[in-house]
Amino acid sequence: MSGPAIELEGITKRYPGVIANDHVDLAARVGEIHALVGENGAGKTTLMRVLGGLTPPDEGTIRVRGREVSFASAADAAAAGIGMVHQHFTLVPVFTVLENVVLGDEPGFIGGLDGVRDRVVELAGTLGFSIDPDRIVETLTVGERQKVEILRTLLRGARILVLDEPTAVLTPQESRDLFKLLRRLVKEGRTVLFISHRLAEVLAASDRITVMRGGRSVTTIAAAGATEGDLARLMVGREVLLPSAVRGGSEPGEPVLDVSGARALSDRGVPALSGVDLTVRAGEVLGIGGVMGNGQTELMESIAGLRPLTAGAIVLEGADLLGWDAAARIRAGISFVPEDRLDRGLVATMSVEENLALGLMDDERLFRGPFMRMCALRQRADATLKRMDTRPSDPGLLVSTFSGGNQQKVLLGRAFDSGARLILLMEPSRGLDVGAMEIVFEQVRSATARGVGVLLVSSDLTELMSLSDRILVIRRGRIAGEVHPGETTEEELGLMMAGGGA
C-alpha cells in the first residue's frame, strides 16, 4: 500500500540568474494525496514541469516505483505513468471532448473513435460523473474541463496524477467534487500530487504536505495535526498574519458608484447583464459572488468603459458616465484590475515602469506634456514595487521576467497607487501565496480607509468573505441576493451562487 510511487532526489534547475530548484527532495507514496505548497517563486511549478518531462533538470534523479527514469519529453513522463493536469488547461477549445481525449494517442490513422467513446463514458461513470463525449470543450464549465483532463490522463494509464493549482478556478462545490474524485483514485492505488495556495483545502484534502521555500524543499509533514499557521510559517519562514474572517465595521460614506438597470451583451452577442442595480459607497468593499460567466466580467467591463451598456446608467460621484470612454473614466477616478493580467492588464514585453506609465497617462507628475518624466517614473515604480514586495524589485525589468504572482502584484500596485476613487478588482489574489495575499488585503484596507470604494469580483469565497462589507450574488446577469459576510457561511453563499437558496 504505502511503497514509494515517485521519488525526486536532489533536483536542481538553474535559469540564467536564478536557481529555480536547489536540490529538491520529494517522495510520494502509492495511495496518498500529497500536497506541495510554497510562496510564489518557491519553485513548485518548475518542479512539476521536471516531473512532467517538460523541463529537464540540471541535476538530480527521479525514480518511479523504485526504478530510475529520465524524461526527455512529456511523452516519456506519460509513458512512465505520470499524468499532468496543468493550471492552464491543455485542451483545444474548438475540439470535442472525445477529440481532445484521443489527441496525441489516436487509436488509428482513420476514425475508429467509437471504442474510445465507450471507454470515456464508462470511466466517467465509474468515477461518479457523466460527460457527453461529443460536446465542444469551449462550452464546458471549468470544472468539467478539468474532469476531461483527468479522464484523459487516466485513459493513458496514469498511475501518478500531478495537478497544478487544480482548485484555483473552481467553485467550492466543484472543489469538493474534485477532492472526492481524487480520493477515489488513490483508493484504487494511484498517487496524487497537487499544488495549492489554499492552505485550508490542503490540510483537509491531503495526506502529507511538502513545503518549498526559495527553491528548496523545506520539509514534508503529515496533514493530520498541522494547522494553517504552521504551514504559512514554514512557507514564509516567519509568522504570517492570515487574512482574518471579517473586517472591522468601517463607516461607509457617500455613494461613489451607482449602477441602475444595467444591461449589456456578452462577446457572443447574447444578454449577459439583465438589469443590474448596485451602489458602492466610499470606504466600502462591495463583493460580487457568482459562478464565473454569470455576467461578472461584463459588469466590470461596462463600468470601466470597455463594454457599452444597452440600457441603464452608471453614475460615478454624481456624474453620469454615459458615452465616456475608458480613458475618460480613468481620469474620473476609476481603476480597473482585470481578471486576466496579461490579456488586458499588462504588456508583458514592456518594463514595469512603462506599464505603470501606460496606466497613469494623465498623471502630470509622470508626464510633462507629451514627455515622460523618467526620474519621477523610476521613483514611482520603485515605491510601488517596494510596497507590493515584488521579487525581483527592479522596475526596469520586463514584466515577462516576473512570475505570475509578481505580475499580479505589479498590476495591483498600479491600481492602488493611482489615486482612484473607485477600484474595480477582479480575482485580485488568484495565483498569489499567503504572503502576497496579506499585502493585497492590507492594500484594500488602506484604500477603503482613505475613502476609496472597491468593487470586488472573486471566485475565491474565502477572499470574498474576508474582504467584503457586503456581498451581492450574481446569477445569469441578475443580482440574486445580498448577504453580509458575518451572517453567512461559504456553504450558504456557494448554494446561492449555484441557484439553490435565496
Binding site: 511523452a75 475540439f95 477529440e99 484521443v102 489527441l103 489516436e106
Partner: protein, 294 residues
C-alpha cells in the same frame, strides 16, 4: 450556349485557385500563414515547364512542379517555424524572389525575358492534362476535408494551429506537424502552377497573376473550411468565366474585362461580412504565432 461557356471557363479558372487555396488551408490550419502561395505557384510552373522541355515528358514535368512546390514550402516553413521569421514577411520574400527569380531563369536557360518555348503536346490518354488536373483539384476538396477531420494527421495538425501548447502537452511534435502542413501546401500550390503552364502551353513571367492572393481571399471567405473555401474559389473563378465571355463574345475591351476577377473578389470580400454580420471569421487561434516551449 453562353452559360455553358461561362461554366467551363469557371471550372478551369477555379482549378488553380482550388489547389492553391486548399494548400493554404493545410498550412494555416497548422498555424503557419502562407502568403507565399503566389511565389510557390510561379516556381512550380517554371519547374514543370523546364523539366517538360528537357525530358519531353509532361508527367515528369508535373512531378518536378510538385516537388519544387514542396521544396519552396519547406523553405518558407523552416523560416517561419524554426527560425521564427514573421510569416507575412517570409511569404512576401518568397513571392518577390519567385517573381524575379523565374525571369532570371528564363534569361539564363532560354535566353528570353518573356516566356519559355512551347511545350508541345500536353495530353494523357488522349485527354488534355488540364482536364486531369481540374479533376484532381475538384477531388482534392473532399480529400482535404477527410484528411483534416477524419485522420490522426488532421486532428494533430488542427491542434497545432489552434493551441500548440495543448498539442505539445500530449507529446505531439508541433514543429514537425506544422512543417508537414506547409510542405503539403507547397505540393498543392506547386500543382496549381503546373496547371497554369499546362493551360498556357509554356511558362510566361508573372503568369500566376495574383491567383495566390485570390486563393488566400477564398481561404478567408471560406473561414478555413475546405468546402466553404472551395465555394469561395468557384465564386471568384466566376469572375474569370464572365471575363472571357465579356471579352470574346460581347467585345468589351480586355483592359476592362481583365479587372473582373479582382473586382469580384474585392466586392465579395467587402460585402460578405455585411451579409453574415455578427459572426466574424474564425482563423485558427494560433495562426501566425510561433510555438516556443515555455
Amino acid at each position: 450556349m453562353i452559360l455553358q461557356d461561362v461554366l467551363t471557363a469557371t471550372i478551369f479558372a477555379a482549378t488553380p485557385l482550388l489547389l492553391a487555396a486548399l494548400g493554404g488551408l493545410l498550412s494555416e490550419r497548422g498555424g503557419v500563414v502562407n502568403i507565399a502561395l503566389e511565389g510557390i505557384m510561379l516556381f512550380g510552373a517554371f519547374a514543370a515547364a523546364a523539366v517538360t522541355l528537357w525530358t519531353g515528358s509532361p508527367l515528369l514535368g508535373i512531378i518536378a512542379g510538385v516537388l519544387t512546390g514542396a521544396l519552396v514550402g519547406a523553405l518558407h516553413g523552416t523560416a517561419c517555424i524554426y527560425l521564427r521569421a514573421d510569416h507575412v514577411i517570409s511569404g512576401i520574400a518568397v513571392n518577390m524572389f519567385a517573381a524575379s527569380g523565374t525571369i532570371l531563369l528564363l534569361k539564363v536557360v532560354y535566353g528570353t525575358k518573356g516566356s519559355s518555348p512551347q511545350l508541345g503536346s500536353l495530353k494523357l490518354l488522349g485527354v488534355p492534362l488540364t482536364v486531369h488536373l481540374a479533376v484532381v483539384a475538384l477531388a482534392a476538396v473532399p480529400l482535404v476535408w477527410f484528411l483534416l477531420y477524419r485522420t490522426r494527421f488532421g486532428l494533430r495538425l488542427r491542434a497545432c494551429g489552434e493551441y500548440p501548447e495543448a498539442a505539445d502537452a500530449v507529446g505531439i511534435n508541433v514543429h514537425g506537424y506544422r512543417l508537414a502542413g506547409v510542405v503539403l501546401s507547397g505540393v498543392l500550390a506547386g500543382l496549381a502552377g503546373v496547371f497554369l503552364v499546362m493551360t498556357a502551353g509554356s511558362f510566361a513571367k508573372h503568369m500566376s497573376a495574383g491567383r495566390g492572393y485570390i486563393a488566400l481571399a477564398a481561404l478567408v471567405f471560406g473561414r478555413w473550411r475546405p468546402v466553404a473555401v472551395a465555394i469561395g474559389c468557384l465564386v471568384f473563378a466566376l469572375g474569370r468565366g464572365v471575363q472571357d465571355v465579356l471579352e470574346l463574345e460581347i467585345g468589351i475591351p480586355p483592359q476592362l474585362s481583365e479587372m473582373m476577377p479582382y473586382l469580384l473578389t474585392l466586392l465579395v470580400l467587402a460585402v460578405w461580412p455585411l451579409i453574415r454580420r455578427g459572426r466574424s471569421a474564425e482563423p485558427p487561434a494560433a495562426l501566425g504565432r510561433p510555438f516556443v516551449r515555455g
